[in-house]
Symmetry: C3
Subunit: 450 residues, 3 copies
């Protein structure tokens, strides 16, 4: 993690990382059995087909990660190459790392099984540092970002394992393990990188123009339309369809609410593109943890209304306060899009979990809340809190899960931010922020001729 | 529907509408049985999986509605926030309303069943007011648009029920019930909102620039590639694949034709982006009603050639005439993209229906033309025209279906337009049209620094 | 192919081509049996469903062709209408032609069977002239391009038949038959159209601006995310999932490598958007031919690293050399994105094929390497080299396949380029190049008011 300041050595370190990945893939990763040709006798085309049935959802998530996040962050008028480019760079690095890291936690005979599931998990993991990047957008070098993402994804994989496999919380759409983790990790890094108090004004290049705002809408809209795939891809049984329906309705309600609240609280009652680009998506985050549960349509709509309201009010009042008082410059407002809505989702999950009954969830109780089942095999006995948790205990674990996640994310972010600031990493000067020119060839004469 | 003129009260009304939706969801909407956990004894994973097999097509339609329509309308150079933003706002409101409205028409035990089908239908319904919005683009306030859409979708649901369930016409891709309805409703509203004759010149902000035209191409292209999903999503049996193939071929032929005819009729034989952005899609509309029938590849190609030709000629000659003579300012030319091609589709459906035989359609006759079957159960007896319609009768009903649709759409549009114009809704002044500034925070200094 | 110089007659020729297609569809094309309604007795809904299971991948490929290629080529600042428009025009023409051409090579009872497979193949075929278009971007008229594409696709269909059905090479992702063919055909045309030596400087409109580079990133990113669908769509059995995984990993590794190498070799170590837009995709091409084989994750990553490196170095050093010395102006650098990576893929396929054993490939050997199987039915005896090829022979055939493909592509390109240059086709003057104005209505006053 100790990278010298110059660009060249930073990039060389990243190349070495790529080569280390190559070696680790060679040593540890093998195709899962279903991805290998079937023996001639036992040929069964059906099983292979079954196996890739989540492929369309995977492709939706690919679009969210690469197009969605990438273009959402193009709203800065002089930082579009970086927004789209670093998204591609970071995600390409992180997906490989996530296959390895998550694989190490679930090894089978000393080897990591590679299948469609692996790269679905890897894409989800890529969302984590991309969320954090939103809190830092324009204020780090690419070397800092990439090195941060390697550390963050390792920590994410550990926290996720803790939350899902040890604490046995439900988090179908990843609002706790992905959104809260990514947002608060990023905010903690932003806290460490905060400017001196005499440099706390907005950067001169920080801001949108008409065209950059429209590019950002490409990101917003693709995130919006494919969010049901993100939330439902890991759901099982009928929970998959519930996750789709609940996410869709929550997004719709959050969107209507965002427009209304934006107009009501903004200057001259004019709509604000920042709210439209971001808070419309808060419904997807806020329903994430509970999306496969029996919320009912009204439950999903209610969560959306709350999320849209909280998110817009966050942009309008809380973000300026954080900037002025704590000097946390959350460029994209990830606290309002990912942070607070994820907290809403965690609280909702405790409320819904406290009302769970075996009668309602029937055959799916075991999949969704494995620790609530009186198991009769050895593997479940490792789950903390023992077998046969009742509904209130499960609710308590949901809250414990978010608390632990916040602790690890903020702790990890402070550590990462400290390393980024105080070691030999090059830090951007105030004037170098929010513009591509430092790290990209930018057309110099573009406006002369036209 | 009586909204006071000020922005604030308009937005508050929309928030109240959202809360009414919440209450209606709570009172009436329940997950369909297949979306609930299966009883432990009867667990059947296959059925849940079967249930979401249309999910990829649904996601394609999501892209069409939110990205396709949203970006297609960004061609106006100063109205991009509104185009993408109001699309999101309107669609998010309308999908909820459509789940309710279409649900009320198909209630089961006093409750509305919620499943993937519901939100597929809701997305299709969202296309209707978005088409109408195209005819009005830049000349209404968002409050007017949103209120219009609530009324329009209710009327659409009623007309669709009439056409499909009472008149029993075939309309697989919705050219009659969606495209013709949306286009002529919108044109009727445009007629009511037409400017005084001394203000009939083009608005000073009406027009594209180089960048806005490229943003519009994002919309065009996504509509183009996903149109086969829109047309095929409700088809059954082998009709689904026919719908895909016919739509694809019709679009391809319409596109080639559009380029050629555009060059031949335009000034200096130069291609016109308006034609390329819109008329290339006319093949998808014109094949819609008949897309699942036994057209043959040549039938689909022929329809595409006709649609591309008619659409370009409409833009070149008819739209200017309507503007000058009737003062109908059809901003996006929905008459040429949706209106006339939908009429072509209706006529094609009468021709094809008149040649239908039970020998050709075999086991699928009942699904496609339920009124042509000598039924033996009670439910079909309600269909108008009795059971066992012959081919010519069905052809007549197809024409009757489009006629009734036009009547209801135009009547409804005149009513809606009248309310929008003569009640306390705020109307835009001439100078306020086709620009975002009235309702959006727009970056003021964007060009200074760059 | 002899088109008179004026625009009007060129477009009329294209319309006549469209009408000839209509007639050929009418005469020769019929729905495949599974696309027809099932007889009432033998109704089997399952088979129809099975049949469209590749539909989601088809839709991904649609996005690659129309959005991916179209927007990737918008990087030229004054050629965006042409990039997106001609992509649409060319692809719409070519898909129809490809259904016919590939159909003629696989007729059944004198008729061409139309099914989802047909239009998947047609979309893949459309990639071929679009790749060639990249080598010529901005230096031809649309008439030249379209006529070239008709000839090229016919030649492509012949070469593909030769490579896959006669030589029996493996080429799952089409790197040999699609990418190498399209790239070297286009470069050969570029050689024929090369400027006189006193006009060899860059065109004055050739170059990107900030916004055009961001539009191009839309193309890049969609190509990136959907590339696994392109490579895997024709794979069978477990090879489909291997194709997805290998393509994903190769792309990721190529992307990381591209960023690093770009920074290391560029001026002031700044990242170059040309590399980011193109070389990140080289991993998808380089893994194409071998994507369904048992590469292992490390094999895929290694191929990605090599491809990213070669592609960036090609842009940095080889392309300028080709321009200066051979006067080949490869506008998009297709040699670096498609040409050289395809050669890497062909070489990789020879290496991997030389190590194939029946033990590894089990039941899938026959699908992947039909000529390596000791067949016992008559149809396989036509395969060149006889039955029961051993691994080294198959490796030799892989190299023979790419050699034949290069020969046919370059020969065809020289022929096509010669016809485009020396017959009555209108050629663009130097000053007319790389701008839309000659063939498009372009907003004249766009910057005055804003």
């Amino acid at each position: 993690m100790h990278t010298p300041g110059s660009k060249v050595s930073g990039y060389i370190v990243l190349m070495i990382v790529q080569i280390i990945f190559l070696v680790l893939f060679w040593l540890f990763v093998r195709y899962e059995k279903a991805v290998l040709p079937a023996p001639i006798a036992a040929e069964d085309a059906g099983s292979a087909k079954e196996h890739v049935s989540k492929y369309p959802q995977f492709q939706d998530i690919q679009v969210m990660i690469f197009i969605g996040f990438g273009f959402l962050m193009t709203f800065l008028r002089k930082y579009g190459y970086s927004a789209t480019g670093y998204t591609l760079f970071m995600a390409a690095l992180v997906v490989q790392w996530a296959v390895l890291m998550k694989g190490f936690l679930h090894m089978d005979g000393g080897k990591i099984s590679l299948s469609l599931e692996s790269i679905i998990d890897a894409d989800i993991a890529a969302a984590v540092p991309l969320i954090s990047m939103g809190a830092l957008l324009g204020r780090t070098t690419p070397i800092q970002l990439l090195c941060m993402s390697i550390f963050e994804v390792a920590l994410f994989a550990g926290n996720e394992y803790l939350a899902l496999n040890i604490l046995s919380i439900c988090d179908c759409g990843g609002s706790i393990t992905v959104h809260a983790f990514g947002a608060y990790f990023g905010l903690a890094v932003a806290l460490m990188l905060r400017p001196a108090s005499d440099q706390n004004d907005a950067g001169k290049h920080e801001g949108a123009n008409y065209v950059s705002d429209l590019f950002a809408m490409i990101g917003t809209t693709f995130l919006w339309v494919y969010w049901p795939s993100f939330n439902s891809v890991l759901a099982e049984g009928s929970g998959g369809e519930r996750a789709i329906l609940n996410t869709f309705l929550s997004l719709a309600a959050a969107t209507v609410t965002t427009f209304v609240v934006s107009a009501l609280v903004s200057h001259e009652n004019k709509l604000d593109m920042v709210h439209v680009q971001n808070s419309t998506l808060a419904g997807g985050v806020a329903v994430g943890t509970v999306c496969n549960l029996l919320l009912g349509a009204h439950g999903a709509v209610l969560i959306g209304i709350i999320a849209g309201t909280v998110s817009v009010l966050g942009y309008r009042y809380l973000t300026p306060w954080l900037t002025s008082n704590l000097r946390i410059h959350d460029t994209c407002g990830v606290h309002n899009l990912h942070g607070m809505p994820a907290l809403i989702s965690a609280i909702a999950s405790a409320i819904v979990a406290s009302m769970v009954t075996a009668d309602d969830y029937q055959s799916e109780l075991q999949d969704i809340f494995p620790a609530m089942v009186h198991g009769n095999n050895g593997t479940v006995t490792k789950i903390m809190g023992g077998l046969g948790r009742n509904a209130s205990t499960q609710a308590g674990y949901q809250l414990f899960g978010i608390a632990v996640t916040l602790l690890i994310a903020i702790g990890g972010g402070i550590l990462a931010g400290g390393v980024m600031k105080y070691t030999s990493f090059r830090n951007l000067e105030k004037d170098e922020q929010h513009q591509d020119e430092q790290y990209w060839e930018v057309p110099a004469v573009e406006n002369k001729e036209e």
